[in-house]
Each structure stands twice: as structure tokens, then as C-alpha cells.
Symmetry: C2
Subunit: 234 residues, 2 copies
């Protein structure tokens, strides 16, 4: 295959990790192009001009074709490369369920994890004050969305994965998102046994790539009580 | 066709309008099920249980199949019903470009329009104070995202539509989103001639359904200077 995918990513970015794991699991060859978010390499004029006009990671470049947004990239890769069908099945109902989650998560799980992470973890690094009341408000919203995840999306354990009996890109996206909260000292699994077991399953099914992509996340969470998630006896 | 789609919607919701127009343009028969956001009909236990567990509109119910999120619904309808190909082409690059926009918009165009709309228009109706500094901050962000839309996504007029030479679901979603800002007294077309003409084209190509779906938006904006958008001479 003469194609050559360049993946621009930073392991501090949740969708970057998910896409890295997806490419690796499906044995799609790609060139690693790490981008430092900390050094704002994604915001340079050159990056916007030559790689991604949106100024974000992850994104891919394949010859002259540039594509941003992990959700769009999964779908493109599933059309253009041989991938395991369970990641994005061609069954119309299961595909719709995956699309529904991947659309919903932006302004819900992703937004609430990110807001908490930025306020509690990033702000102090930037010399900004952490507002206690705001932290509490953001924590409550994060609690709510993760309770919804536990009770509705995992149906309190009656559903193994987000779109049926097999792991899909929806699970991968969600797991990498949820891990981010731990950096800010928030334990997403506390009081959520089904989320804990689901998260451990995603890790297990996608290792060694999951741990590789999360090595910085694990390092940054050592100051808290968390260790990489493992299944608990039910 | 024995199928029967029920569309749950409120014309005050941007993606509800877009989906209503899409269904109408493609002559997909559907039953109208208006839901009042103002009366929180989308948050009732019954609605969550029987219609949409996410507690949002738009959503569809087709026999026992329930689907939320307009982006997921477009894709499902394009697989399940005869639709005009230009809305969501099977060409892999154009489809990827549409997917990219529809993924990007959630935390960008949609987030910034909604934040401005809620703060400036909805808060006073709820008896909440409108913070002048916050308004200014939100306006600046909305300016930025619409300037990006004008300059990058429409390439300063060199690109007729968001994903090439034909109208797609990306354009429909974007147009309905941008109209919402007008309710809050923000003129998205001011200083953006290409956005103005693109918006007028979307309206023209999807009328009479566009005007039907926007009738409340037009009513609510009469107190401002705006009239429904028409093309200007270039």
C-alpha cells in the first residue's frame, strides 16, 4: 500500500489517544508526528496552513488529503482501510447507536470532563486561581453525566458496551475521555462499579496500546490514589 | 412503505429546524410531534422513558427504534430512505469533509452561538442578570468563530458550500445554527458578505421549508433590524 498516513497527536489530548489506539489495533501503518499542545505547536500559522486549519489535534494527513476531528477520521479509516468490523459495524442500527453517542458526547461527557480538567488542573499551572464554588459546580455536572453513563448508557451493567455486545469506537472515545478526569484528581469509578468494569475491559481489550497512550496520564495521576483500572469482582 | 417516523422537535431548537427541513426536502413522510422546550416537556420522566433517554430534541421514533442527535439521524435516514445524494454524498472525501464539519461544530459554532443566545436572550426571560463583561467576552468568541467560517470554511467566497459545489447536511446544520444568533440581536452577516450570500442561498434552496421552520425566529427578530436574509450583489 503506497498510502502514508501521518498522525498528528499529543497524548495529553483524549481523542489523540483514542485515535492512536484505533490505528494501532487495526494495524493501519502510520507515521507518528507528535505535536506539543503545551508549546502551542497546534496554533502556529504553519500548522494551520499545512496540517489542520482548525488548529487542533488529532488530525491526519494522507498525501494531499487533510482531515481533522477524530469522529470523522474513524469513519474515513473504516471506509478506506481494512478494519475489524466491530469498531464501526455496517449494521444500520448499531451504526446509528454509535453515531448517536459520538455526537452526544461533544457537549456532554467531553465538555464536562474538559471543563473540570481545565479549571482544576490546568488553571493552577497557568497561575490562575481555582474558584472553589465553580469547582463544586463543575464537579456536580461531571457527577451527573457520569451517573447517566453508568445508569443509562451502561444500563447499570446490563449492557457490556455502548452499542451492544462488542467494543466500538464509541467505547474507545469514551474511555480515553473519562481517563482525563483522573489527572485532575477526580475518580470516575468511585461509586460506579459498572463504569469501573467497563473501563477495565476497554483497557484489557486494547492493550498494550491503551497503556502506551495513557503513560502520561498514569504518571500525572500517581500523586492521587489511582492506579490503572482493573476489573473488580462483581 | 409501512414505516412511520415520528419527529419530536421544537422550532426554537436549531437542529430541530435543520432536521425538519431535511425530512421535508427529501419527501420522507413523518408525523409531527411538537415538544415545548419552554415547558420542559423534553425533561419529563415519560419523555425520557418513551422517547429519548437523553432528554433532548430533535429525535425520532420509528416503531421500536429511537434515535437522538440530528447528526446521527441524518446519517441513518440517508442509509434507510431514498434521499438526494448531494445531502450526504457517498464519495469518501466529501463525506469525510461533511463529517469533519459536523463533528467540529458542536464545541465551536454551536457552543458559541448557544452561549451567546442563552446569556443575552434567555437569561433576562428567566429573571437573571446579563453580565456586560461576560456578554462582551461571548460576543468576541462568536465573532471569531464566524470570521473563521467566512474566511476558512467559505474561503472568502471561493467555496460555495461547506463541502464542495453542492448543498449538504453540513450547510443545513450550520445555517439553522447561525440564524439563532439573530434572536439575541447579533447580526452574523454584518461585515461577512460571503456568509450573507451563502446563508441566502441555503434559504433559497430549501424554501418554503426554511421559512416555515424559521417563522418563530423571524418573529423574535423583528424587534431587531433583521429581515430574512437575501443575496446581495457582489
Amino acid at each position: 500500500m503506497a498510502r502514508n498516513i501521518k498522525l498528528y497527536y499529543d497524548f495529553m489530548s483524549q481523542p489523540s489517544r483514542a485515535l492512536y489506539i484505533f490505528l494501532s489495533m487495526n494495524k493501519i501503518p502510520f507515521e507518528r508526528c507528535p505535536i506539543s499542545l503545551q508549546n502551542f505547536e497546534h496554533k502556529t500559522v504553519e500548522f494551520r496552513k499545512n496540517v489542520n486549519r482548525y488548529g487542533k489535534v488529532p488530525c491526519i494527513v494522507e498525501q494531499n488529503f487533510r482531515l481533522a476531528e477524530s469522529v470523522a477520521i474513524y469513519r474515513y479509516l473504516c471506509r478506506a482501510y481494512p478494519t475489524q468490523l466491530h469498531w464501526y459495524p455496517d449494521d444500520t442500527i448499531r451504526q446509528a447507536r454509535i453515531d448517536e453517542y459520538l455526537s452526544w458526547q461533544h457537549l456532554n461527557l467531553r465538555a464536562h470532563v474538559s471543563l473540570y480538567f481545565f479549571h482544576v488542573w490546568l488553571n493552577p499551572l497557568l497561575g490562575k486561581e481555582v474558584d472553589v464554588k465553580k469547582t463544586e459546580r463543575l464537579r456536580l455536572r461531571l457527577d451527573e453525566v457520569l451517573d447517566f453513563f453508568e445508569q443509562e448508557l451502561l444500563c447499570n451493567g446490563r449492557q457490556s458496551f455502548l452499542a451492544g455486545d462488542h467494543i466500538s469506537v464509541a467505547d474507545l472515545s469514551a474511555a480515553c475521555e473519562i481517563e482525563q478526569a483522573k489527572i485532575a484528581g477526580y475518580d470516575p469509578c468511585e461509586g460506579r462499579p459498572h463504569l469501573n468494569n467497563w473501563l477495565a475491559t476497554i483497557r484489557e481489550k486494547t492493550n498494550p496500546f491503551y497503556d502506551e497512550a495513557h503513560k502520561y496520564v498514569y504518571q500525572l495521576t500517581t500523586e492521587h490514589i489511582f492506579t490503572p483500572v482493573v476489573k473488580e469482582d462483581e
